[in-house]
C-alpha cells in the first residue's frame, strides 16, 4: 500500500487522484483474497457502526454494502424509505440528523436526486459514501467496473471502453466517465440522440454504435429504463433494440475477446442479447462478486484510512 492520504468520504471522484485510486483498487485486491478464504471475516472495522440509508430502493447494492461491512466486523444498521414518503414528512436532513444522534460512524447513502450525499456531507461531518444519487454518480459501481476491467485487461492505460445506452440519465456512465480516464482509459459513450447529454467530461459522445464499438477493448451496456418511452424520449423498444442492442454480431466490431459488462439489473433482450449475457464474454457475474471487495476497500479507507 502507498502512503497516500485519502478523502474521508466518497461522493464522486472529483477529489481523488490516480495514486489514491490505484491504492484503493489494490486494497480491493486484498479484500478479494479475504473473500476467497473459508472464513470470510476480518476484524478491521470492529467497533464501527455503519448505516445504509436508502431513500431509493436497491436491494442488490444495499446487500453488497452490508455484507462488505459485516465481513470487516462492523455493526450495520439500515434505513429504507421511499422518497415520496420522505417528501411528505421528515426531510432527509431530519432523518440523517436523527440517525447521527445514535452514533453512526459512516453513512452509505442512496437517493433518486443528485446531490443529496453532498448535502449530507455538509450536515453530518461524518464519512459519507455515495451509493448512487439520481443521474449523477455511483462511484462504487464505477470502481467495481474498473476493478473487473483490470482483472481482465490488466492496466487500463490507453484502453478504449465503450459505454452504450441511456447516457443522459445514467449515474453509472457519469461515474465511469470520471473514473476510467483517471486510470488512463479512453471512454466513448454511445446512445440515441435523445438520451445523450450535450457534453460529458471524460468521454467522447456518439450516436453511431459501430463507431463506439470499433477497436473497443471492452463494452458496457446500460440498463434501459422503460419510463423513457413514456416521456417521449424514445419512439419504442424495438426502435432502441434495432439501433443499440448489444448482440453477438455487433460485439464482433470490438476487439476480439473484448469483454461485456452491465451494471445490472439487466433487461435481457433489450439492451443486451440474452444469450450473450450468459456467454463467456460476459463479466456480469464477476462484477457482482467484485462489488463486495471494492466496497470493503472503500469502507476501510473512509473509516480507518492509511497511515
Amino acid at each position: 500500500m502507498s502512503g497516500a492520504t485519502f478523502p474521508k468520504h466518497l461522493l464522486d471522484f472529483q477529489e481523488w487522484e490516480r495514486a489514491q485510486l490505484e491504492s484503493l483498487l489494490e486494497t480491493a485486491q486484498m479484500m478479494q483474497e479475504v473473500l476467497a478464504r473459508p472464513v470470510k471475516k476480518v476484524p478491521a472495522l470492529t467497533g464501527f457502526t455503519v448505516a445504509t440509508v436508502f431513500f431509493e430502493p436497491s436491494t442488490r447494492t444495499r446487500i453488497s454494502f452490508e455484507l462488505a461491512a459485516r465481513r470487516m466486523s462492523a455493526d450495520v444498521v439500515s434505513f429504507t424509505s421511499s422518497a415520496s414518503s420522505t417528501a411528505k414528512g421528515e426531510t432527509y436532513r431530519d432523518t440523517l440528523r436523527t440517525l447521527d444522534q445514535m452514533g453512526i460512524d459512516a453513512y452509505i447513502l442512496r437517493t433518486d436526486a443528485a446531490g443529496v450525499p453532498h448535502q449530507a456531507h455538509r450536515w453530518l461531518q461524518k464519512p459519507v459514501i455515495n451509493a448512487g444519487d439520481g443521474w449523477r454518480a455511483h462511484p462504487t459501481q464505477a470502481l467495481l467496473d474498473a476493478f473487473t476491467l483490470r482483472e481482465k485487461l490488466g492496466s487500463l492505460e490507453g484502453k478504449k471502453i465503450a459505454i452504450v445506452g441511456d447516457i443522459l440519465h445514467s449515474r453509472v456512465a457519469r461515474s465511469n466517465a470520471e473514473l476510467l480516464p483517471r486510470l488512463g482509459a479512453q471512454v466513448v459513450a454511445c446512445g440515441p440522440a435523445t438520451l445523450l447529454p450535450g457534453k460529458l467530461p471524460g468521454a467522447s459522445l456518439t450516436t453511431k454504435l459501430r463507431e463506439a464499438l470499433e477497436e473497443a477493448d471492452a463494452v458496457m451496456a446500460l440498463r434501459l429504463q422503460k419510463e423513457r418511452m413514456d416521456k417521449g424520449l424514445l419512439p419504442s423498444l424495438p426502435e432502441y433494440i434495432a439501433g443499440y442492442q448489444i448482440t453477438e454480431a455487433r460485439l464482433a466490431w470490438a476487439k476480439p475477446e473484448a469483454p461485456l459488462l452491465h451494471p445490472g439489473p439487466m433487461n435481457r433482450d433489450v439492451e443486451i442479447e440474452g444469450t450473450l449475457a450468459d456467454s463467456p464474454r460476459s463479466l456480469v457475474e464477476r462484477q457482482v462478486a467484485n462489488g463486495q471487495a471494492v466496497r470493503m476497500a472503500v469502507l476501510y479507507h473512509v473509516l480507518v484510512g492509511k497511515r
Partner: protein, 434 residues
C-alpha cells in the same frame, strides 16, 4: 420653514443624476426644501446618499395561505429595510389573489402594518389556471396594479391575447413568466456543461427565448388591433429575464416600438450555474441561474434600458423546504434586504455601472411600467425616500433578516450601500441609524 426631518449634507442621487449635497427638509409627507430649515429631527447625512424610495415590481409575500414562508408583516418589514417604499406582491398565494375582495383585504392589512406600501398584483386568469379571465375592471378599482399568472406559465397564446386586449382596455399591464413548459420540462437548473456533468435535469436558455418570441408575436397581434393605443405604456411585461437570447429579442422588439417592458433580478445579475457545483438547493430558482455570458449581457441590457428595472422576485421558502434535495426543493431566492447593496457593490463599485442609472432602474423604471409618475429629489416631491451609506462595508448575515427566509446565496458577501433610513410619505418605516 419648519419640518419634521432635516437631512444635513445629504448627497442627492436620483434617476436624473447625482446632484451634489444639500440639506433636505421633509414635512407633511413632502420635500419642503433643498436648502435646509428647522426640523424636529436633524439627521447628519454627510457622506451618505439620499434617493427616492425603491420600487419592487415583483415579490412573493406568500399571504394569504403560506405564512410559514413569509407574511405581509415580515415581507413589508424586509422591504423597508431594503430601502423599498413600494412593492408589488404576486398573486400566486393560497388561495390565488384573483378577486377584488382579496386585493382590498391585502391593501387594508398592509396599510395597518405601515412599512413599505403594498400594490397587489392580481391573477390574469381565474385561479391562475390559464382559462377564464379575471375581472380586470373590478380588480383595478380595488387597487390591483398588474395582472399576472406568475408562478405558472401562460401556455395558451389565445388566452394571453384575450387577456392583453382586455387588461389594456382597463389600463392594466400584464406580466408573464416567459418559459416554454415543454422545453423547460423538469429542468431544475440551466441546461449546459454544468447540468450535464452534475446529472441534473436541465432547463435550456431557449425555453425562455422561445416563449418570448411567441409572446412578442401575441403583443404585435393585439397592438395592431387595439382601437386606442395608450402611448408610453407597457402592454406586456416580461418578468425576470435570464438569457442573452431573450434579451436580444426584447431589445429588438423595443426598437420596433412594441409596447413591452422587462425586468431582471439581483440573482441573475450576480450568480451563474457554476454556483450549483456545490449541489445546494439554495441556488435553485426559476428561471435558473445561467452562464457568465448571460450575466454580462443582462448588465448591458440594464445599462442601455432594454431592461427597464431591477425586480427582486423575492421568493421566500422555509429553510426545511430549501434543505430538500435538488429535485424536490422549491424554486426561489429571497433578496429584498440585499438587492440594493448587492447591486450597488457588484455593479457600481466593482464594474463602474453609472449610479444614477442603477437608481433609475430601482425607481423610475418600475414606476413607469405601472404608469406612475417618477419621484425626483426636488421641492414638493413626495417624501418617499431612502438614505443609504455608500461606504460602510457590512457582511451579509441572513440570521438578522426581517424576512422569514433567513438564508441567502450572498451570505458572507461584503457589501456597501446599506439603507439607513426609509421614509414613506415622510414617515419613518425603517430606522437603521446608529
Amino acid at each position: 420653514m419648519k419640518g419634521e426631518i432635516l437631512f444635513k449634507n445629504a448627497t442627492l442621487v436620483d434617476a436624473r443624476g447625482e446632484h451634489g449635497t444639500a440639506d433636505v427638509l421633509v414635512g407633511e409627507g413632502r420635500i419642503l426644501s433643498l436648502s435646509g430649515g428647522e426640523a424636529q429631527r436633524v439627521v447628519e447625512a454627510k457622506g451618505r446618499c439620499l434617493s427616492p424610495g425603491f420600487f419592487d415590481l415583483h415579490a412573493h409575500l406568500r399571504e394569504p395561505g403560506q405564512e410559514v414562508k413569509e407574511d405581509l408583516r415580515s415581507g413589508l418589514e424586509a422591504a423597508a429595510r431594503g430601502g423599498y417604499t413600494d412593492l408589488v406582491s404576486m398573486p400566486n398565494t393560497t388561495p390565488v389573489v384573483d378577486r377584488a375582495e382579496a386585493v382590498r383585504a391585502l391593501r387594508e392589512k398592509a396599510a395597518q402594518i405601515d412599512r413599505a406600501r403594498l400594490h397587489p398584483a392580481a391573477a390574469l386568469t381565474q385561479g391562475q389556471e390559464g382559462q377564464v379571465l379575471c375581472e380586470a375592471r373590478l380588480l383595478r378599482e380595488a387597487g390591483a396594479v398588474l395582472l399576472t399568472d406568475d408562478g405558472r406559465t401562460n401556455e395558451d397564446a389565445g388566452v394571453l391575447a384575450l387577456g392583453l386586449r382586455y387588461a389594456a382596455s382597463w389600463g392594466l399591464p400584464v406580466a408573464v413568466h416567459a418559459e416554454d413548459a415543454g422545453l423547460r420540462r423538469g429542468g431544475v437548473m440551466h441546461e449546459g456543461e454544468v447540468s450535464w456533468r452534475l446529472g441534473l435535469p436541465g432547463n435550456p436558455a431557449y425555453a425562455e427565448s422561445a416563449r418570448i418570441a411567441r409572446d412578442l408575436e401575441v403583443v404585435r397581434y393585439v397592438w395592431e388591433a387595439l382601437e386606442t393605443r395608450p402611448q408610453g405604456r407597457s402592454l406586456l411585461h416580461f418578468q425576470h429575464l435570464s438569457t442573452r437570447r431573450g434579451l436580444e429579442l426584447v431589445r429588438q422588439a423595443k426598437r420596433e416600438g412594441l409596447p413591452i417592458s422587462a425586468e431582471v433580478t439581483p440573482h441573475h445579475l450576480t450568480l451563474t450555474d457554476a454556483h450549483l457545483e456545490g449541489l445546494d438547493p439554495l441556488y435553485k430558482v426559476a428561471p435558473p441561474l445561467r452562464t457568465w455570458a448571460d450575466v454580462e449581457a443582462l448588465v448591458e441590457g440594464l445599462l442601455e434600458g432594454s431592461l427597464d428595472c431591477v425586480a427582486t422576485d423575492h421568493a421566500p421558502h422555509t429553510e426545511d423546504e430549501k434543505s430538500l434535495d435538488l429535485l424536490r426543493a422549491p424554486f426561489g431566492i429571497p433578496s429584498l434586504e440585499v438587492a440594493w447593496p448587492l447591486l450597488y457593490t457588484e455593479l457600481v463599485q466593482k464594474r463602474g455601472f453609472p449610479l444614477s442609472v442603477l437608481v433609475a432602474r430601482f425607481t423610475d423604471g418600475p414606476r413607469r411600467i405601472l404608469g406612475l409618475p417618477p419621484i425626483h429629489l426636488e421641492e414638493g416631491a413626495e417624501a418617499s425616500l431612502v438614505l443609504w451609506d455608500p461606504s460602510q462595508r457590512r457582511t451579509v448575515d441572513p440570521k438578522g433578516f426581517a424576512s422569514k427566509a433567513r438564508y441567502s446565496p450572498w451570505a458572507g458577501w461584503g457589501l456597501s450601500g446599506w439603507p439607513l433610513l426609509t421614509l414613506v410619505e415622510g414617515r419613518v418605516v425603517f430606522e437603521g441609524l446608529g
